[in-house]
Symmetry: C2
Subunit: 347 residues, 2 copies
Amino acid sequence: MEFKKGGHLYGLHRVIEPQGVLPQSSLKLDNSAPAYDNEIVVEVETLNIDSASFHQIMGEVGRDEAKVAARIEEIVAQRGKMQNPVTGSGGMFIGTVRGLGPNYKGPEGLKVGDRIASLVSLTLTPLLLESVDKVYLDADQADVTATAFLWPSSPIVRMPDDMSARLALSVLDVCGAPAQTVRLAEGASRMLVLGMGKSGMICAAAARDAMGPDGVICGYDLRDGNLSVMKEEGIINDFRTGNAKNPAQVLEQVSEMIDGGLFDVVINTCNVADTEMSAILACKDRGRVYFFNMATDFSKAALGCEGVGKDVDLLIGNGYAHGHAQMALELIRDYPAVRAQIEKLFC
Amino acid sequence: MEFKKGGHLYGLHRVIEPQGVLPQSSLKLDNSAPAYDNEIVVEVETLNIDSASFHQIMGEVGRDEAKVAARIEEIVAQRGKMQNPVTGSGGMFIGTVRGLGPNYKGPEGLKVGDRIASLVSLTLTPLLLESVDKVYLDADQADVTATAFLWPSSPIVRMPDDMSARLALSVLDVCGAPAQTVRLAEGASRMLVLGMGKSGMICAAAARDAMGPDGVICGYDLRDGNLSVMKEEGIINDFRTGNAKNPAQVLEQVSEMIDGGLFDVVINTCNVADTEMSAILACKDRGRVYFFNMATDFSKAALGCEGVGKDVDLLIGNGYAHGHAQMALELIRDYPAVRAQIEKLFC
Ligand SMILES: NC(=O)c1ccc[n+]([C@@H]2O[C@H](COP(=O)([O-])OP(=O)(O)OC[C@H]3O[C@@H](n4cnc5c(N)ncnc54)[C@H](OP(=O)(O)O)[C@@H]3O)[C@@H](O)[C@H]2O)c1
Ligand SMILES: NC(=O)c1ccc[n+]([C@@H]2O[C@H](COP(=O)([O-])OP(=O)(O)OC[C@H]3O[C@@H](n4cnc5c(N)ncnc54)[C@H](OP(=O)(O)O)[C@@H]3O)[C@@H](O)[C@H]2O)c1
């Protein structure tokens, strides 16, 4: 396979406009072959389009496979990547490695023929799209004939062979959170997981793994379905249900679980806005709040925390951490109840 | 002085609507006397209205002292607090303590007669406003006849007597940043301050204080005015100028200063949007980026960091930290060059 010289670590060589920005913020990427010397060439089989993006497209063109396919082709033709111009979001893809540039530095032992998933890189991945072959309206997915090019700073992971692609993608989508949870668990003895959905359950399992049987892990969610399962399994010690948008009420409810005290660490994995203050109030002085919830508002967190005079560290949920994908997949294997619950609800 | 019973730690007793939210997010506060048992009563002399709020009001009613005064009175009459309904922002105030509730727990030794400043609490402070007596159009200030009530979770500070109120307020406005900088300096040997304005200079001084003469502290800003002064004074080791909105260029420029390496800690004190990626790229693997810049976008930071596969901790600039106000004032005393520069530019 032939490769062009001069690939940049962060993919600047693919940015057409505006010049000088990173691929993710670009309006248009160069999606042409051949690959650069620091890239891999991936034959893409399926695009997993971000839910917000997919629903925006259906809202625009209707629930019609052919029309959604045409809109995807149009976006990629315009932008060189599948980044929805309205929502700004992308998604992930699955494919097979067909070539490795001589200067590519990625996961150890990666080789031609490996089946991989990209981790949220559709917003920054040059995609040479021949055709959209089939659209799955209920799964936010599309099978395609296409080639993608990835440089070293774009996180990828080998697809596991002991679970369905759907389960793996579902877990990989949120794999940044459990990796951070494990780090935050160090030295902590009481942790609260606010929002016990997909990422909340995996974070609770990560916390149990890291904190051991003596760690006190509590949960909070609108409804008790996942919470009950997690408690039965001994993954969490206790839980309450209610609305995370009501900080004063949440504070009263959750501190009951630990005799009126507060938590060393609070992990916010809700999927709605206005949950900053519940997480902050539940956290003890000099504790840490981790916001994985993408509906978090920077100023609400910063000014709200100052307004109640709380000295806690507020962390933005970076989706990347070393080894995050492997760790999340491992947790799913080690905690069959979490796996079963995710399969039941999301697969 | 008479006090009502039943004050809540976070001031919920003052929220009229919507019920159950914290005072900061309320539409209307009860600003009536007498005070509750956990409050202090402050005779307010001057309101320092947040710049965004003040300019919105002038845009609405014109550059007219009487009209601005009337608009302030109207807002407080509607909301029970001076929180601009359009910008959502408040400001600070200066006043004198006139009464201390028996259950108030605030700064040690606070007593009736002390002159204090509230730290950003106009958005959550019940203000019983009799009249706006004088408006200073160029200073975003208003002298008033008014009473404010503060509960223990609202940070306040005694006004220092060795500097002008204007300088003190200017420094107190950003006092969260240097306190966090000192914490982040622990174990760090190379720090970058991105944006060398008021808070940037105080952060650089805080870093020098904490890291000692061997610490490598670098600066970056659009223009070299403050940077040159900081370098001459030995507070920073080196600097570059340019636009923090161009991450690839910033990365190249700043890593030059440390032989192509990256920084352990990056403090973002710019005052414009789209500077997330410059801060992130300049930070080394497992380093920490502190976003004091209120124009920071949560998702741009979270997704951008993931998109470039960087494993760094991203911190939201909580404006409160224990002892932050005293520390910032102390830094100004210890670094006369920083004080002089702030007086020249902001006072
Ligand atoms: N930072 C990153 O890189 C990254 C990557 C992926 C995802 N995320 C974010 O992570 C968040 C969680 O994702 P997920 O896949 O775990 O979502 P999820 O499975 O839908 O879980 C969210 C949970 O929060 C609960 N919830 C919703 N509103 C609530 C409220 N008012 N009070 C209490 N609980 C409430 C939901 O309950 P119901 O199901 O009953 O509504 C659900 O159990 C999302 O915001 C997503 O954007 C971040
Ligand atoms: N989290 C909190 O609690 C809190 C509290 C107070 C303030 N803040 C925030 O802290 C930030 C800084 O406040 P401040 O008082 O220090 O502001 P400042 O004195 O105006 O400093 C900002 C500096 O950034 C520079 N700058 C602007 N655009 C730039 C660019 N594109 N590239 C490089 N440098 C650039 C400015 O240069 P020029 O002067 O040449 O434009 C200025 O030197 C603000 O965003 C403010 O909202 C946060």
